[in-house]
C-alpha cells in the first residue's frame, strides 16, 4: 500500500468492512458495528425480518391478485415451457461463456496497453497519448450493438484473404474493441492512484522507467482496480447477448427462438437465471478476494 497515496477514486474506495456493511443493511440501531449479541442488535434483526416479510408480502399479493396475473403466469412463468426450453438454452449459454472468456483475455491485455500508452510522460509521446485518448473516446461513445452490427456484417463483406468470416470471430473482435476502452480507463484510474513519490523512489533506487512501471506502479494499480475490472467483466458477460444480431445462437437468441415459436416468454426467464448463476457467485468471489487482500495488507501495516 502506498504511503500517503492520493485519495482513491470513489469506486476504488472500498474500505468499509463486511460487518459494518451488514449492519448498515439491517439498519441496526446506532449504526456502525451493531453487535449481534446485544439486545438492540437482535431487535434490529427481528424488525428487519418483519418489515421484509410485510414489504414483499404486499408486493406479491398485489401482483398475484392483479387482473392480468393468470395471463402473465401462463406466458412468463410457465413450468412446462421452462422445462422444455432450458436444456437448449443451457447449451446455447456455453456459446456465451466461450465468447466472454475469449474476449476477456484480449481485453485485459489490450486495455492495459492502451492505459500504459496514455500514461507515458513527456511531449515526445504526445501522439501515442492522443491515439489512446481518441480510441477510448470513440469506442466508449458508440453503442456496443452498433459496433457489433457494422463490424460483424461489414468486415466479412470486404472479402479479405485470410481473415475469418465467422460471426463469432467478429463478435469477439467487436467486444474486445468496445470493452478495452472501458477497461483502459479502469487501469488508468488505478495507475494514477499510485502516488508519484512511488515512481521517484523507484527511480532513485536505480530502476528504469519501465521497471518502475512494471514492478512498482502496476502491481499496486491492478490490485486496486480488481472490483471495477470485475464490474466490466460482468458487463461483458451480459453484452455477449448482443452478438445474436449476427446470427450467432447464444442463450438470449435461443430464448428468442423459443419465444417466437411458442409466443411464450418463459425462456427469457431461464436465460436470465443462467446469467445470474454466473455473475452473482463471481461478485461474491471478488468481494472475498478484496477482503482477503485488505486483511493481508493491514496485517503487514501493523507489523
Amino acid at each position: 500500500m502506498s504511503v500517503g497515496g492520493q485519495p482513491d477514486q470513489e469506486y476504488l474506495n472500498d474500505n468499509d468492512d463486511t460487518v459494518g456493511r451488514r449492519s448498515r443493511i439491517l439498519g441496526g440501531g446506532g449504526g456502525g458495528k451493531g453487535g449481534r449479541g446485544r439486545p438492540e442488535g437482535r431487535r434490529a434483526v427481528v424488525i428487519a425480518m418483519i418489515s421484509t416479510v410485510v414489504f414483499f408480502g404486499v408486493i406479491i399479493v398485489a401482483v398475484v391478485n392483479s387482473a392480468g396475473w393468470t395471463v402473465v403466469k401462463q406466458t412468463f412463468f410457465n413450468g412446462e415451457q421452462f422445462r422444455e426450453s432450458f436444456p437448449g438454452i443451457a447449451r446455447a449459454f456455453l456459446v456465451n461463456v466461450k465468447l466472454f472468456l475469449t474476449a476477456e483475455v484480449f481485453i485485459l491485455a489490450f486495455a492495459l496497453l492502451l492505459a500504459i500508452m496514455r500514461s507515458l510522460p513527456g511531449p515526445v509521446f504526445f501522439p501515442i497519448r492522443a491515439l489512446s485518448i481518441g480510441y477510448v473516446d470513440l469506442f466508449r461513445g458508440i453503442p456496443t450493438i452498433l459496433v457489433i452490427y457494422t463490424l460483424g456484417f461489414g468486415a466479412p463483406a470486404l472479402d479479405l484473404a485470410g481473415v475469418p468470416k465467422s460471426a463469432e470471430f467478429w463478435a469477439v473482435v467487436s467486444l474486445v474493441l468496445v470493452y478495452s476502452a472501458y477497461v483502459a480507463e479502469v487501469y488508468r484510474a488505478g495507475i494514477e492512484s499510485v502516488h508519484e513519490s512511488q515512481v521517484s523512489a523507484a527511480r532513485s533506487l536505480g530502476l528504469s522507467r519501465w521497471q518502475s512501471l512494471r514492478f512498482v506502479v502496476l502491481p499496486q494499480a491492478i490490485r486496486r482496480v480488481i472490483p471495477p475490472l470485475l464490474n466490466d467483466f460482468i458487463g461483458l458477460q451480459k453484452d455477449t447477448a448482443l452478438v445474436s444480431v449476427l446470427g450467432v445462437v447464444e442463450a438470449a437468441r435461443q430464448a428468442g427462438i423459443d419465444n417466437a415459436a411458442t409466443f411464450n416468454y418463459t425462456p427469457f426467464l431461464a436465460t436470465a437465471l443462467l446469467f445470474v448463476s454466473i455473475t452473482i457467485p463471481l461478485t461474491r468471489f471478488t468481494d472475498w478476494l478484496v477482503a482477503r487482500d485488505r486483511r493481508r495488507r493491514q496485517a503487514g501495516g501493523v507489523r
Partner: protein, 311 residues
C-alpha cells in the same frame, strides 16, 4: 419503531384490499364475455354485420403488419403512415391494395361489409403481434404461421395461404447442386427468427452446424452475400422475390422443400378470445369458395413452384 410497524401493517392491509378489488373488478367483464352475454342477445341480429363487429374502433378495421412491408406480400407505390414503398428494394405500401396480403386484407374487409376507406394500417412488429395484454390492432397480417403452441397465446384465423419453404443460395456455389436433405447436412444454413424456415431446418433438415438466426430478412441476405451462411430458408414467394428483384445478388432459388407433418399455413393473428375471429373465418371461407383467394394468389404470388429437394 412500533408506530412504524403498525403503519406498515396498515399499508399491507390496504394494499391487499385494493388488489382484491382489482381482481374482482377484472373478473367481472372476463366472466361475462365467457358466458352467453353478448352472443345470446345477438341471436336475432347477425353478429358479423358491420355495425356489430367487435372492432377496436367502431366502423374501422385496424390491421397490423410490420414496417417495412415486403413484396410479394405488399406491393404498390407511395407512402402510407410510416411505410414507404420502394419497389426496387422490395418494399411495399400496405394500403395500396397491391401485393397478396394487402389484397387479401381488403377482400376480407369487403366480405365484412367494410369499405376500403374503413381500413386502417398500424405498424406492428412480429414480436409485438403476440405480446400479452391489449393489442393495438383488430388482427395482424404478417406472414405468421399457425402452430398449436402459438395458438395458446393468441387466436389464429383459418389459413389464407398454405406455405412451404424454399432454399436460396448464391449461383455457382456447391450448395446449389443439393437435391436431397442429406446433401444439405454439411452446409451452414440460416433463417429469420420466428419463421417457418428456421423450425424446418432444425426439425427436418437437421444440419451438422447450428443454423444462424437473424432478426431481419436483410440480415439474412447480407450474411448470405458475405459467405457467412451457405443458404437460407424462407417461404417460397419471398424466396422468389428476393432473387427476382436482386435483393440477393447472383441469387438462385435452389428448390422447395416438401411439407412434413401438418401443412404449414399463414393465419391472421387476433388477441386471445377475440370474437372477431369467427366473422373473419366466415369471410375467408367465402373468399375460398368463390375463388377470390385463388385468383389473388395467382395474381400476386405468380407461379412460385421450384424443383423439390427430397427428404
Amino acid at each position: 419503531m412500533r408506530k412504524f410497524l403498525i403503519g406498515l401493517m396498515a399499508l399491507a392491509v390496504v394494499g391487499v384490499a385494493c388488489s382484491n378489488d382489482d381482481g374482482a373488478g377484472a373478473s367481472g367483464p372476463t366472466g361475462s364475455t365467457g358466458s352467453t352475454g353478448p352472443t345470446g342477445s345477438t341471436a336475432s341480429v347477425d353478429p358479423c354485420a358491420p355495425e356489430s363487429l367487435n372492432l377496436l374502433t367502431s366502423g374501422t378495421l385496424t390491421i397490423g403488419t410490420d414496417n417495412p412491408a415486403f413484396q410479394p406480400w405488399f406491393g404498390g407505390t407511395g407512402t402510407y403512415g410510416p411505410w414507404k414503398a420502394k419497389p426496387d428494394s422490395g418494399t411495399g405500401n400496405p394500403a395500396s391494395g397491391e401485393g397478396f396480403e394487402s389484397a387479401v386484407a381488403y377482400a376480407i374487409a369487403d366480405q365484412l361489409g367494410l369499405t376500403a376507406d374503413q381500413v386502417t394500417w398500424v405498424p406492428i412488429t412480429f414480436t409485438e403481434s403476440f405480446k400479452p395484454g391489449d393489442k393495438g390492432f383488430d388482427f395482424d397480417l404478417n406472414e405468421i404461421s399457425y402452430s398449436p403452441d402459438r395458438a395458446q397465446a393468441v387466436d389464429f384465423s383459418e389459413s389464407y395461404y398454405d406455405v412451404s419453404p424454399a432454399l436460396v443460395a448464391i449461383k455457382g456455389t456447391p450448395i446449389t447442386d443439393a437435391t436431397t436433405f442429406a446433401d444439405l447436412k454439411g452446409y451452414k444454413l440460416g433463417a429469420q427468427i420466428g419463421t417457418t424456415g428456421y423450425s424446418y431446418i432444425v426439425n427436418n433438415i437437421q444440419p451438422d452446424a447450428q443454423p444462424a438466426v437473424f432478426d431481419k430478412s436483410v440480415d439474412v441476405i447480407q450474411a448470405l452475400s458475405n459467405g457467412q451462411i451457405d443458404g437460407y430458408l424462407t417461404d417460397a414467394p419471398t424466396a422468389y422475390v428476393n432473387v427476382l428483384i436482386g435483393q440477393v445478388k447472383n441469387g438462385v432459388v435452389v428448390g422447395q422443400v416438401p411439407a412434413i407433418g401438418d401443412q404449414e399455413y399463414f393465419g391472421l393473428v387476433f388477441g386471445k378470445g377475440n370474437p372477431l375471429v369467427g366473422c373473419v373465418n366466415q369471410a375467408i371461407e367465402a373468399l375460398k369458395s368463390d375463388g377470390t383467394l385463388d385468383s389473388l394468389e395467382a395474381k400476386w404470388l405468380k407461379d412460385v413452384t421450384f424443383p423439390e429437394i427430397q427428404q
